[in-house]
């Protein structure tokens, strides 16, 4: 059972990690917590489902889902955060919470209140590994997450824009003085964070065969905990935080009590804040 629970934890955790990457990058560069990250995740899932319903093509649905997440992310950056730049950090935080409520209400109006199923059934096929049963879908979810993380790492370290983003994150004034377009870096970060959350939303819509306007709230909060756990602002930290959180809550539910499954994320969060406030890989900023 232990091995099965760890696999379960890794699947959930790799999705938290994708969303946590969005939190951590936006925090790293803008110093704000984008509480609407869970709603971006939800719009990604809906974008994919609506496209799939309209065209019947999964190859179109996935990019369309990512695109809709990116559009929501860019609109947020433009209208919820850019006007508030330079203000007291509490103000963009409140704006983010407001945007999150606005977006889930908007989704309820646009898509209706009901859960929707993902119109392709991927079945239950899988294989036994030691004492655990792993489905192909679980493997695909983990593989896609890993590929996304590698792509992000390559972008941040190899590309010119990625380096610019890192420079802005280190010191935005110095970056501006050396000729880096800071506004563009902000937009890039929102784009990347939203795309990752969009992918996470689509993966989960497929995995659970269900989407709803409220689907982003809980994963959003858990991913936020994962980002804190790994050290806000740290990209490897967000990944480790996500995985640790996924495994912790599955083991907690298995060996302590499933009544508190969702509470474990937040228990872990509180423990981190008490014991090591900058998280596992945080820089102490």
């Amino acid at each position: 059972m232990l091995f099965q629970q760890i696999i379960n934890g890794l699947v959930a955790g790799s999705v938290y990690a994708l969303v946590a990457l969005g939190y951590t990058m936006i925090f790293g560069i803008l110093g704000i917590v984008n509480f609407a990250q869970g709603e971006i995740y939800m719009f990604g899932a809906f974008g994919a489902i609506l496209t799939l319903n309209a065209t019947g093509s999964l190859a179109l649905a996935i990019p369309a889902g990512i695109l809709s997440a990116c559009i929501v992310g860019l609109l947020l950056e433009r209208f919820a955060f850019r006007p508030l730049r330079g203000m007291h950090p509490l103000i963009p935080l409140i704006s983010a919470i407001g945007a999150s409520i606005f977006l889930s209400s908007l989704a309820r109006l646009m898509f209706g209140p009901e859960d929707r199923s993902f119109p392709i059934d991927f079945g239950f096929e899988g294989f036994n590994l030691f004492s655990a049963y792993i489905t192909w879908l679980q493997l695909v979810i983990m593989a896609v997450s890993i590929i996304m993380m590698i792509l992000l790492w390559l972008f941040m370290n190899m590309s010119r824009h990625g380096k610019a983003v890192r420079a802005v994150a280190m010191d935005s004034d110095a970056a501006r003085l050396s000729g880096i377009n800071v506004n563009r870096a902000y937009v890039i970060v929102f784009l990347l964070g939203s795309a990752l959350s969009g992918v996470a939303g689509i993966l989960m819509a497929i995995y659970y065969n269900s989407t709803s306007p409220g689907m982003g709230t809980l994963p959003g909060l858990k991913a936020f905990s994962a980002a804190i756990l790994g050290g806000v602002g740290s990209i490897p930290g967000a990944i480790i935080g996500g995985l640790v959180l996924g495994i912790a809550e599955n083991l907690g539910a298995a060996y302590i009590s499933s009544n508190f499954k969702d509470a474990f994320a937040f228990i872990v969060l509180v423990l981190v804040l008490v014991i090591r406030p900058r998280g596992i890989l945080g820089s102490g900023r």
């Binding site: 309820r108 009901e114 859960d115 059934d121 065969n209 599955n250 499933s258 009544n259 499954k261």
Partner: protein, 374 residues
């Protein structure tokens, strides 16, 4: 220019005067439903009321007066339900309220309604506590007690169940079902080998299901709301849990089958409403309901909730027509009504204000459709 302005003002005054004079003659009934949070249950309930109101008004209303329903959103919160109740009673002067929909909300509104002497009819609060909530409190569905009795008996007699695993929703409804069904299973000599829970909003049940899979049982019972119960059974099947499955009446919706997909096959649950109930009233109701649902792809479809509120609205209208518009008049009618021709059966109320009908229908999913088995 001045003339246009004056005529605009005149028209506005006339419209308002007309509206208020019409309004004064209307019969106002309140409804507290789940219109934002939980709207996939609340909207069908609202449609049921609307269909009844349209039919009544098309026939000339109640004793020549139009029936108007004022809707309030409970937002799935007992506090909001009480605030909605207070608005309906003090501002709109309603004497009767249909709703709220959740047991917790009903139990919060009940003492206030009892004090004010206002009739409250919940369409689907199933908690046994509602029976004792007061003389003005009525209920349009059977209690979870009767549903538990019917389902557990069927599990023993027909499915030859010998041991049960339970995965319940950790809120008042799912928790109540867990306790009640456990009691009934135990009385029938069927042990509950494991009882795990999940939270509203959860979509990942793998930790609980991994534990359940290690046990020996031949029926998995998943009480809760279909937003969670459908993904839960799907995941159970994905993890290789092949035993028979059973749920409660929240699963009785096309949405459940859509969300669970192939995993829904063989799922047993109960319902308050049988679409094939062969009466003229039901045929007419069904036709009008599906006309609304099919016209809008976003419209949630759960005909059972619509059927219950449809019956309750017609009962209220009948009461007002026969006994006048007062809470005590409506109450005296509801207490004495016999064999009312509802779409959910022939209706009357017992001393606790709980509805009496033929009983609970049991359904099973066969080839992606609900089929009545008892």
């Amino acid at each position: 220019m001045k003339n246009i302005l004056w005529s605009a003002i005149l028209v506005t005054v006339m419209v308002f005067a007309g509206a208020t004079s019409l309004y004064a003659e209307d019969i106002k009934v309140g409804a507290i439903l789940r219109l934002s949070q939980g709207a996939s249950d609340g909207l069908p309930a609202k449609r049921g009321i609307e269909i009844a109101v349209n039919q009544i008004n098309a026939k000339g209303g109640i004793n020549g007066k139009k029936l108007v329903v004022i809707y309030e959103d409970s937002k799935d919160s007992p506090q909001t339900a009480v605030a909605a109740y207070q608005k309906l009673v003090s501002v709109d002067k309603c004497q009767v309220i249909i709703g709220p929909m959740m047991s917790g909300e009903v139990l919060a509104v009940a003492p206030v309604a009892e004090r004010d002497k206002i009739v409250v009819i919940t369409p689907n609060g199933t908690s046994p506590k509602i029976s004792q909530a007061g003389q003005y409190i009525y209920r349009g569905c059977t209690t979870s007690e009767r549903q538990a009795a019917a389902l557990t008996k069927y599990a023993k007699d027909k499915m030859k169940t010998t041991a049960v695993a339970i995965l319940y929703s950790n809120e008042p409804y799912g928790k109540g079902c867990n306790e009640q069904f456990t009691k009934y299973f135990n009385e029938l000599g069927i042990p509950v080998v494991i009882s795990e829970s999940f939270m509203v909003g959860d979509r990942d049940f793998s930790a609980q299901l991994t534990k359940i899979r290690e046990q020996k049982f031949d029926l998995i019972f998943i009480p809760g709301y279909l937003q969670e119960t459908a993904p839960a059974i799907k995941q159970a099947r994905q993890m290789g849990i092949k035993q028979a499955s059973m749920g409660v009446f929240g699963d009785m919706a096309p949405k459940y089958i859509e969300l669970a997909g192939k995993a829904a096959e063989g799922h047993l649950n109960c319902s308050e409403y049988n679409e094939d109930y062969n009466t003229p009233v039901n045929k007419k109701f069904k036709a009008e309901y599906y006309k609304i649902v099919k016209a809008d792809p976003k419209e949630p479809n759960n005909i059972m909730f619509a059927a219950i509120t449809y019956d309750m609205t017609r009962l209220v209208a009948d009461a007002i027509a026969k006994k006048g518009y007062s809470a005590d008049g409506i109450r005296s009618y509801l207490d004495t009504v016999k064999d009312f021709d509802g779409v959910t059966g022939r209706l009357s109320f017992d001393n606790d204000g709980d509805v009496n009908k033929q009983g609970v229908y049991l359904f099973e999913v066969k080839k992606g459709k609900y089929v009545k088995v008892q």
